[in-house]
């Protein structure tokens, strides 16, 4: 199978920060808002370079979402920054009415998504955000997999007209996608070719899927990995083309299996091409304190969990 090289671990939030720095230079309409987490979101550089276009709103996320909606009137492109938990559940109604229903061009940028924020524990580890955001009509939902892709996604959403939820994380993870990749919203990226099983992964689980596929290859199982960075709109065609060939599928995400990528994929399959599917995701539970690696293992979100799911789904073919 095709080999992927980790050019050095980096956090995806820093990819976002690098994207913001670049956007600040090239697009004068881009403005940024942050709710007292500038360092955590890696927005410091943007703040330093463009103080007039950076709005520190304090610990007041509801107000931040409203201000962002208002800033679009007059042509600004606001990027809000806080943790995923405070970017979604805490402010769902503000996003629903003032941004989504009002069709405002706001980019909701959410760091520390999933269990991998680690030791802070379940109050800060949202595993429901993809579900919340994909249910909003007109909302685009993006969950890039590494530093380079998060930077590319940040640049791409500025060009997209309409509300976007951009999800990324805290831990340093493998950086393996090309540095100067083009990022097409809604277009899946096929990473490997294989005839035995399709693995559809998003976010931090993409690298785990690659690790899993390498192990499986040694056992003679050829996995076709698809990196779904855009959960909505979903690239139905890429998914269907692959399962027509492989006949079974595993979805992998750092999110509750209720409401996540897996459910979106299951709907596409049920409607078009019923296929055995296994879900690598959290099982309707909250997280807890621990290191990212410990949590990924305990909650079944790593390469081992993907391998198990592949073996299970192969038997159902």
């Amino acid at each position: 199978m095709k080999k992927f090289t980790n050019t050095g671990n980096k956090d995806t939030r820093s990819g976002f920060g690098a994207g913001m720095t670049e956007l600040g230079k090239k697009n004068p309409n881009v403005v940024a808002l942050c709710a007292d987490l500038t360092g955590s979101l890696k927005m410091d550089e943007f703040q330093k370079n463009h103080p007039e276009r950076f709005f520190q709103v304090g610990i007041a996320e509801a107000n931040m979402m409203g201000i962002a909606a208002g800033l679009t009137i007059g042509g600004k492109i606001p990027f809000t920054g806080t943790f995923a938990n405070f970017s979604t559940g805490r402010v769902y109604d503000q996003i629903r009415q003032s941004i989504a229903y009002s069709g405002k061009n706001v980019k909701i940028c959410a760091s520390h998504a999933g269990v991998t924020l680690g030791e802070d524990g379940a109050t800060h580890q949202i595993l429901e955000d993809i579900g919340l955001m994909k249910m909003l009509p007109g909302m685009t939902v993006i969950n890039p997999c590494d530093y380079n892709q998060t930077k590319a996604a940040t640049l791409a959403v500025a060009e997209h007209k309409g509300p976007v939820y951009l999800r990324f994380g805290r831990p340093s993870v493998a950086n393996f996608t090309p540095e100067d990749q083009s990022f097409e919203i809604g277009k899946a990226v096929q990473l490997t070719e294989g005839n035995d099983v399709t693995i559809i992964a998003t976010g931090h689980l993409v690298w785990e899927a690659i690790q899993a596929a390498e192990t499986l290859e040694k056992e003679g199982i050829q996995a076709e990995i698809i990196n779904i960075h855009t959960i909505k709109p979903l690239d139905n065609k890429a998914i269907l083309n692959s399962v027509k060939k492989t006949g079974c599928i595993v979805t992998a995400e750092e999110h509750n299996f209720l409401g996540g990528l897996g459910e979106s994929v299951a709907r596409v399959l049920a409607e078009n091409h019923p296929t055995p599917q296994e879900f690598v995701a959290t099982q309707d539970t909250f997280g807890e304190s621990g290191t990212p690696a410990q949590l990924m293992e305990k909650y079944g979100l790593n390469a081992d969990a993907i391998i198990k799911a592949v073996k299970k789904v192969l038997k159902r073919k």
Binding site: A62, M64, G66, G70
Partner: protein, 281 residues
């Protein structure tokens, strides 16, 4: 249109529009709408420099945001009678496939609406955003917003009130419809607002009190004063005392008509108290 007699006629005609809209669909919110009729007439005919050839970005014009979206009947009537859309369209209020949704929205593209409202407490934040956008664009025009008094029970308002003062958002005039009523009763019985003037001053706002919010000339005078206070480093708020249901005797001084439409007989009585002036739609 600045002739005061003509504006008084418009106030009466807008009241008729409000009553006829809600009566036709047997739903909607006449009480707060009637209480704010003079304010809306003053805003769109005297106070704001605005372009009824609607453009969402609204560069170079004053902009208005309605936070308490349930008083859509008065908003729709005044927008229509200011030329934003045909007055006849008021017939479609709350109907299927209408641009005049129960609560205002941009979703169906109704000219004059810049954000959806209805879920309370969000308007001041949006208005601040629009005010910041104006500053970034070196646009010296103003942002107006109206919110209800009961609506101030929503916490987001206080985040916004703290932000606007702390960041000197001084191209913003918030008006509070201070009618003392909300769905379950008076604001004093549901959740007292306390000394609103002292609270807003403590937050760092320039606070004006408009005692006669249903006196058109008084509204114009105080709002002009509010305009003169902009640009001085402080956001400006007008606490506008109004009577819910103003202009229809049996709807006044009670929360009963917050969200209830008159029946045929009640409509007839209400309209008789507000004889046609500029022509019904």
């Amino acid at each position: 249109m600045t002739d005061i007699n003509q504006l008084e006629k418009l106030v009466i005609q807008v009241r008729r529009d409000i009553l006829r809209q809600v009566h036709k669909v047997n739903s909607g919110h006449p009480g707060g709408s009637l209480g704010c009729t003079e304010f809306f007439v003053a805003l769109y005919n005297v106070l704001m420099e605005h372009d009824n050839d609607f453009n969402m970005d609204g560069k170079g014009e004053d902009l208005f945001f309605l936070s308490n979206g349930h008083i859509s009947p008065v908003f729709y009537s005044v927008l229509a009678r200011s030329g934003y859309f045909p007055v006849e369209e008021l017939r479609t209020f709350r109907h299927l496939d209408s641009r005049l949704q129960g609560h205002p929205t941009t979703h169906e593209g109704l000219p004059g609406i810049r954000v959806a409202s209805g879920s309370l407490g969000q308007g001041i934040s949006v208005a601040i955003g629009a005010a910041l956008s104006k500053k970034l664009n070196n646009d010296s025009k103003l942002i107006y917003t109206l919110c209800g008094d009961g609506e101030l029970q929503e916490g987001q308002n206080w985040e916004a009130i703290m932000y606007a003062a702390g960041n000197k958002v001084d191209n913003l005039i918030v008006t509070i419809d201070y009618n003392g009523q909300q769905i379950d009763g008076s604001t004093d019985t549901v959740l007292p607002l306390g000394n609103l003037t002292a609270k807003l001053e403590a937050f760092g706002w320039d606070v004006l009190t408009l005692k006669e919010g249903n006196n058109l000339e008084a509204v114009i005078k105080t709002m002009q004063e509010a305009k003169s206070k902009t640009g001085n480093g402080k956001p400006v708020v007008v606490i506008m005392h109004t009577v819910m249901g103003n202009g229809v005797d049996f709807m006044m001084h009670t929360h009963a008509w917050h969200g209830k439409a008159p029946n045929d007989e009640q409509l007839e009585t209400a309209l008789a108290q507000n004889p046609e002036t500029l022509g019904d739609y």
